[in-house]
Subunit: 213 residues, 2 copies
């Protein structure tokens, strides 16, 4: 990768080529963060093309608030591309620690467990952020400029793909955790997020489809 610490500075082409390669990072976690960030960006786009238009004066204040939140989520999700790389590399690094003596074995095991906890929490943060983007996309699909309602639809689809993608990484890393209370707490939160997000995404898509047809 051009810059492992700032993968968001890589070109789209470079990122895709690195994603396709046998290099372990970037992987699905980075793709999930980008999906979420594209969703947030499209919510912002709809807001930016609604705010200031006389026809939409009634919703202007609400969409200004949505825009502030979507831009915050976009920044957070963009940063998660790098966080996913770091979390994955930390797990790999921990697995690579020496395991010759009992002390080494114990230190390695502790390092793996700590790295796995972080590798659960990074994609869980991505899930939470994508869930928040879905809520904002629902508002823009409902109240935003009708000329760009399809972009609100793409926003909700992107955010939902980001959510379900990041969920897979939570599952993968939670599986290896010895601290089952820690793992179960994350999995329970995740199930709650997914249970709400699926039907809401479907509903927003149908609203958008009806408006564009």
């Amino acid at each position: 990768m051009g810059d492992k610490a700032r993968p968001e500075n890589d070109s789209i082409q470079t990122f895709l080529t690195e994603l396709a390669s046998a290099a372990p990072t970037p992987g699905g976690g980075g793709a999930a963060a980008i999906s979420g960030a594209m969703g947030a960006a499209l919510v912002s786009m709809v807001c930016n093309l609604t705010i200031g238009k006389k026809k939409y004066a009634e919703v202007e204040e609400e969409l200004k608030d949505v825009l502030a939140r979507s831009e915050g989520l976009r920044a957070g999700l963009t940063g998660m591309i790098a966080q996913d790389v770091a979390a994955f590399d930390a797990v790999m690094g921990a697995y690579g620690l020496p395991k010759g003596t009992d002390e080494e074995k114990e230190a390695r095991s502790k390092a793996i467990q700590a790295a796995l906890k972080e590798a659960c929490d990074v994609p869980l943060s991505c899930c939470r952020a994508c869930r928040a983007v879905i809520d904002l996309a629902a508002i823009t699909a409902d109240k935003g400029n009708l000329n760009v309602v399809s972009d609100a639809g793409v926003a909700v689809l992107s955010a939902y793909a980001g959510l379900k993608s990041a969920a897979l990484n939570v599952y993968v890393n939670a599986k290896g955790l010895e601290d089952r209370d820690f793992a179960q707490e994350r999995l329970d939160e995740l199930e709650g997020i997914l249970a709400e997000a699926g039907p809401l995404t479907e509903k927003v898509y149908e609203v958008v489809k009806a408006k564009v047809n």
Copy 2:
């Protein structure tokens, strides 16, 4: 945008900022193409991490073939980011033509209709390519390296989001077409693609989820 003809050369950060802005392009169509391209790239990643491994020798030839196809689809989908910008700008350009005389009105109307046809066919190509990525993701989820099966899951989710997102742009542009036969042919093909892709995506996700849990 840094380079409208080659938006794939923009950094992820720049693309997201342009996506969020009030500028009409890039928009949801470009995001759809990126989702599809990320799906194709992740199929390639799983292939690249399976090919050459003794444990997976039995599926090596099949996954080499999948890899060749996913890399072709990735190139095609990456190119569609620019094609979407060009198609949208052509529609806007046609609407901007003079309409003072009857001749001008007729020429403008013809130009709009021609541009709308192209603006239907670009996202429809994206839908076809995303559908093909879903098939390849299904194979990698089934036969690829188990250590990266979650990436096959993200691949199918990204491709499906790209498909449904591009579909919205087909609907939007088909609506404005006077040539209803042309429009209906595209819409019929699209419905066929969507009808197959939804259940298949769900099935692949469940396969992946079972393997990571």
